[in-house]
Symmetry: C2
Subunit: 339 residues, 2 copies
């Protein structure tokens, strides 16, 4: 059924020149007579010749390919980050090779990196958020892989390059805002506590309360799993245990949606009785009822910065920082009706 692919030798034969000359035409090398170039180019176009990346990469030792490891593409954050990576990588002339993890725990990164090495990727973007100990292997074991890796959403580690949003600052901004709105008893509905992002947002909650000389009560923290359903359950639990809570910072917009539903079910008006601030600024959040105040994180930019950082490393443009290179994207408060 399928024809064999057109090769450089066939083109060369038809043009009556050597393969090397065709190669020069393809690569825009100058040492080809104009007349010859035109003749060969015509044949290339007519025959639909496409040089083989495989052969070229094999010889050159670099493939212009980036491996990307993802997890949780059902969630808004990870899928947007992947989109940002693919977009920027294509833009920079890289081909992306995505791998999906079905569980966060990474028993043997060796296997995954090994697959990428088989595919001759030039570098890797590890877009699996730090959860529990799932990045402990990176602690000291990355140099063994002998291939540059950029991590997305990992706490700073010596010698490693990471890109992430400043979750702690985002948390502070959210709670600062609630305090500015006159709230004094501010709860936290957080994503799974295993997630580093969740911990950082909780830290922001703490710091803001401290800065405003408000008491910190860990009983005001309820844990969800980032889903709207868990947000609903968490808000129910929180308001049942602490009926006088007047403000809540929720770890993402989906949970905030569920939380608002629960608050309403318990007869609370938002924002009058309870003010709510989310995190993500997903496009829908501007249309929730009430519209959701939230912390915007630019995930497209996280993705493109990760590609940029990898690109810089691959081109040898940067001296790796022994402390670990860190690109931090600033969050932004978007005020709407829910506060």
């Amino acid at each position: 059924m399928r024809n064999r692919r057109v090769t450089i030798v066939e083109i060369a034969r038809e043009a009556g020149v050597s393969a090397q000359t065709v190669s020069r035409v393809v690569n825009g090398n100058v040492n080809v007579a104009e007349e010859t170039r035109l003749r060969i180019q015509e044949i290339i176009d007519r025959r639909g010749y496409h040089p083989s990346r495989l052969a070229r990469s094999l010889l050159r030792g670099s493939s212009n390919t980036i491996g990307v490891v993802s997890f949780g593409l059902g969630l808004y954050g990870p899928s947007q980050t992947l989109a940002g990576i693919v977009h920027e990588a294509n833009h920079q002339g890289y081909t992306v090779l995505p791998q999906m993890l079905t569980e966060a725990e990474t028993r043997n990164p060796q296997r995954i990196v090994g697959q990428f090495i088989e595919s001759h990727v030039d570098g890797i973007i590890w877009a699996v958020p730090e959860i529990g100990g799932n990045l402990d292997w990176a602690e000291d074991g990355v140099s063994e892989f002998d291939i540059p890796i950029v991590f997305i959403t990992m706490r700073r580690r010596p010698g490693l390059t990471g890109v992430h949003v400043d979750n702690c600052r985002g948390g502070r901004m959210a709670v600062d805002h609630l305090v500015a709105r006159g709230r004094r008893k501010i709860g936290l509905i957080n994503g799974s506590h295993d997630w580093w992002e969740a911990k950082e947002r909780a830290q922001g909650w703490r710091e803001s309360l401290t800065n405003h000389a408000l008491p910190i009560d860990d009983n005001l923290i309820v844990e969800g799993d980032w889903s709207a359903a868990s947000g609903e359950a968490a808000m129910t639990a929180l308001l049942t245990r602490h009926p006088d809570v007047d403000g809540v910072f929720v770890g993402n917009d989906s949970m905030a949606l569920g939380a608002i539903k629960a608050a309403r079910a318990l007869g609370r008006r938002i924002p009058n009785d309870v003010a709510v601030v989310g995190f993500d600024n997903m496009p829908e959040s501007a249309f929730f009822h009430p519209t959701l105040t939230t912390i915007h994180q630019d995930l497209d930019r996280v993705g493109s910065q990760a590609v940029g950082a990898l690109h810089a490393i691959l081109n040898g443009a940067v001296e790796p920082n022994p402390d670990g290179d860190e690109i931090v994207i600033g969050p932004r408060l978007v005020v709407r009706e829910s506060s």
Copy 2:
């Protein structure tokens, strides 16, 4: 900085055998003495040898790689579909090579297919929804590419393989349900009319009204662009022009969210005054206020079926149907408060 990769020859040299013997061990060929196999395997593990996919693919003529063209990854649908594809492809042992289009119009598919051919992909999944004439090139020009392509969300075309949700039936189900709820003047807030999916859903709206002997008034159709903002604007326009509308089928959940907001702003109670049915069943829709009745589409399955179809073609397991092969995924009505 980076070492050269470990090659089969190095392993062979260290083991004192020929490269061929190492190759046999790697590929599980039987004709190797057990003792030799163990010795070589030990060296492979210790040195961290990974056979080169490039070299192997070059020789074998197939790469176990699938090219995927995507568009609109910012939307819920396309990003979930891509996730489904990557997941299933990895599962089946394929590597995915994603390409993102920044505009729906495909001026020269030749360029995109050409890039994939350079990368030696075995097949292509064209996951760009049919919009305007952006798939007209497929009409007769696919065989020229001499590579199997599976299309996601394209109307049936002779000789081509496609996977899509039955949008027309979904539309019928939505409107049937509204009628069953006693609604008689049912509007349609649709996605961009250019989109084939939108046309099909509109067709479902028409068929259902016809089946129930209700009048069809094209003035009850308002077009949006799938965003919540456009849904809000559309509902405002619809209720202003036709204050007696008592049910609305909305082309996706995001627009439905905006539409509900607009209806509320105009003093309508939902579902009492206006019942609303969406399309997608995104996870958040179960937590909208009110919770949203919607048509569920299993996009994971669309992705995995596309991979499966391509896999079947690549293995020569299927005779292509001259009428075009069509895999249709059935939608499902999910009833909630908004109706």
